[in-house]
């Protein structure tokens, strides 16, 4: 087992824990802002995991996907925050 294989297993477990925690927060809420925030975290973890996979396997096929996600990740959370009603508790 090479060094990078061990690293990929450990990093995969860490990314998985972070993603599961974000999904838990999306389900539990309590407010829609928490859900928007957790969705953002899930997206950031997905971008980091894509990059880590590229660095371990030494290719650059999904670098463009990272670029597009970094450009357009802002739209969802800002529209939720901008158009949220004052008494929305759900």
């Amino acid at each position: 087992m090479t060094f990078l294989e061990i690293v990929s297993i450990i990093a995969g477990v860490m990314f998985g824990i972070g993603a599961i925690a974000a999904v838990y927060r999306i389900i539990r809420g309590p407010s829609i802002l928490d859900r928007a925030l957790a969705t953002d975290v899930l997206l950031a973890i997905a971008i980091c995991a894509l990059g880590a996979e590229m660095a371990i396997n030494k290719h650059i096929d999904t670098l463009v996907v990272m670029l597009v996600l970094a450009m357009f990740a802002v739209v969802g959370s800002i529209s939720i925050a901008r158009f949220m009603a004052k008494q929305d508790a759900s």
Partner: protein, 117 residues
């Protein structure tokens, strides 16, 4: 096992640790503003370390410029998101006011209401 391989492994481990810390943080922290603090870690530093790992692994000009572009867009857009979410949380009372040490925005809003503009 070369020096570049060790550097790549360490950078990826830092990114994974930050992602895990963000996940644990948004579960454990009590309100939107503190969760916001935990959530912004992997979005900037985690991405930066992963991009550095890619550049170390595939050192060409195309990869370097694309990595700089990704980091620039992320640094432009993520503070906007955090700012808008924090503002919406404050205005819609999703903030634990008993946990705040100092509340500058409350004072500004009171002053603004007094002058009546």
């Amino acid at each position: 096992m070369s020096a570049a391989e060790i550097a790549v492994g360490l950078l990826i481990l830092v990114s994974g640790f930050l992602s895990m810390a963000a996940g644990i943080g948004i579960i454990r922290f009590p309100d939107v503003l503190t969760r916001l603090h935990a959530a912004t870690k992997p979005q900037v530093l985690g991405l930066a370390t992963v991009l550095a790992a890619i550049v170390v692994q595939v050192p060409t000009w195309g990869v370097l410029t694309t990595a700089v572009l990704i980091m620039t867009f992320q640094l432009l857009t993520q503070p906007m998101t955090a700012h808008m979410l924090g503002r919406a949380a404050y205005r819609s009372d999703h903030v634990r006011r008993d946990l705040l040490i100092e509340d500058d925005l409350d004072r500004d809003i009171a002053e603004h209401d007094q002058t009546g503009h």
